[in-house]
């Protein structure tokens, strides 16, 4: 699906607008972390993943495991806009029985590959899916989207240490490195840096990229690996796209007022089209 940079940018802005709306309507948390990964999702779902929204369970589909499950509102919105389900369903986000719970449950909605929310599980599961591709001889790519805080979980590094030994060249990790976690900056809580070097040291084909420059993301995503699994450390801004949300960790938990939703829409230039 080849879309122009302008249209990808518009898709990203529309997703961001919808996320702010959803956070207000559902009074739900984690808006900052949802906004930071929007461009990663746009790059993946509109330009990279080999998927068919009308066949979400196709065994030969590319898989994306959205391991930072607390920000799943971003995944839901991307899936809806990409055609996996009716965007009207997003109005039911975080309502009981909606199929779009605040943290995903198994098979809750088409396109949701795994019920994440406890950080650190996605990469191991993705490793299994990537290995299955080789065993079953069904070629597809597997992507796992982690948060930087999530890279503090030991289970991530168990998987990271094994993957290069399994020759899983079709496995790609994307780290949404927005620099924050629930209670502070990630670099002040744990020794995060140098994160790219850590992945390289574990044997991954690792690179750093501006996580809001879709062109750069696509260039890195489409670059063939050197044979090792790839790790893309995407430098992002928590709350990206709305000036009064950016890099303010209060937005890890708080939801916007109706007035703030309108301000966000004005900044994004999407008031008329969402």
């Amino acid at each position: 699906m080849m879309a122009s940079d302008d249209s990808l940018d518009l898709i990203a802005r529309r997703i961001r607008h919808r996320l702010v709306q959803m956070s207000h309507e559902a009074q739900s948390a984690h808006l900052g972390g949802a906004l930071s990964c929007v461009d990663l999702l746009v790059a993946l779902y509109w330009e990279v993943l080999s998927i068919d929204p009308s066949h979400p369970d196709d065994p030969s589909r590319d898989r994306l495991i959205f391991s930072k499950g607390h920000a799943v509102s971003a995944l839901y919105t991307a899936l809806a806009f990409r055609g996996f389900f009716d965007p009207e369903k997003l109005n039911q986000y975080n309502r009981t029985g909606s199929g779009l719970p605040e943290q995903p449950s198994p098979g809750c909605a088409p396109g949701v590959e795994w019920a994440t929310g406890s950080l650190g599980h996605g990469l191991g599961v993705g490793l299994g899916m990537a290995l299955a591709s080789a065993i079953n001889k069904i070629p597809y790519s597997t992507y796992v989207l982690l948060s930087d805080g999530e890279c503090q979980e030991g289970s991530v590094w168990e998987a990271a240490m094994l993957a290069p030994r399994l020759n899983l060249g079709q496995l790609t990790v994307m780290v949404d490195f927005n620099g924050w976690q629930a209670t502070g900056r990630s670099r002040e809580i744990m020794q995060m840096e140098p994160l790219v070097e850590k992945w390289k040291a574990f044997g991954w084909d690792a690179a750093e990229v501006d996580g809001h420059d879709i062109s750069s993301l696509l260039e890195e995503l489409k670059r063939p690996s050197n044979g090792s699994p790839k790790a893309i450390i995407a430098r992002t801004t928590k709350g990206k796209g709305i000036s009064f949300i950016e890099d303010d960790n209060n937005w890890h938990y708080r939801s916007p007022s109706q007035e703030e939703v309108q301000r966000a829409a004005d900044e994004l230039g999407t008031s008329e089209i969402v």
Binding site: A115, G124, V125, G128, L131, A132, A134, E158, M161, L162
Partner: protein, 315 residues
Amino acid sequence: MRNAFAEEILKLALEDPRVVVLSGDIGNRLFDKFKSAMPGRFYNCGIAEANMVSMAAGLSSCGLRPVCYTITPFVTTRCLEQIKLDVCYHRMPVTIVGTGSGISYASLGATHHSFEDIAALRVLPGINVVAPADAPELRAALRWVFTQTEPAYLRIGKKGEPICTDPVLPFAPAKWHCLRSGSDASFLSCGTILQEVLAAAELLAVDGVSVGVWNCACVKPLDNAALESLPCVPVFTVEEHSILGGFGSSVAEYFSARSSSPRLIRCGIPDRFLHDCGEQKEARIHCELDAQGLASRVMNTINRPNSPPDFLSFP
């Protein structure tokens, strides 16, 4: 039993191309034949058991039937959250096989003991928990696992377990086997401790005490029909597991809902860590899980029916 597991999983894998064995860097030479026959379906996942279980879940989501194998504490309590979320929450057909269960590795101390695995895993929705008594029962249970698609935990011994089960009796979930009838008391035996239980029943018979023996390989689900059929005489559950939360506790939960139930005495590992207790044989004696110890527990209970449970007075 570990040799029986390796042999049987090889046979199963030759029959079923979905079978994949994941090992936590364990089993020196044990899987040589498997690796030689099917190199693309055996993976040493290293000393990283949590990842091994997550990987298994990912593999099974793509139609494969992975088996995770290592020493029991490392593949159960060590990676409990992965079993809970990636396997059970997603209802993935992953088989967890814990070898050297209970006090099979008695002399190695608490790091290699598993007294809490049944407690920790049976509480997870949807998982089958099976503790085969010997190699033939393990083979049958393993075959059964691949006829169904739910998560399964097989708790097995290490080596040298005598054959105690009747090979004619098939394995089925929630189906216990009465190996011996008895009118004075009933043993409900779970796992490889069966050999001691059968021997205890013999000792008691010599003293004129008639004790029934049931082999209860399936811990979850329980065999409710068997429990209902028990005579109203003292019931002794026996397991190489803590007396807290394991098989015996599961039976106690069942009985507690009834308006009247037999008196239940849980025989197992007392509520403390064990170390410096020798090999498995000595450790069983220490915990009164050997034939003589079990027979004494039954005699004491029958002779002093109004005394408090003696397991509370363990040093």
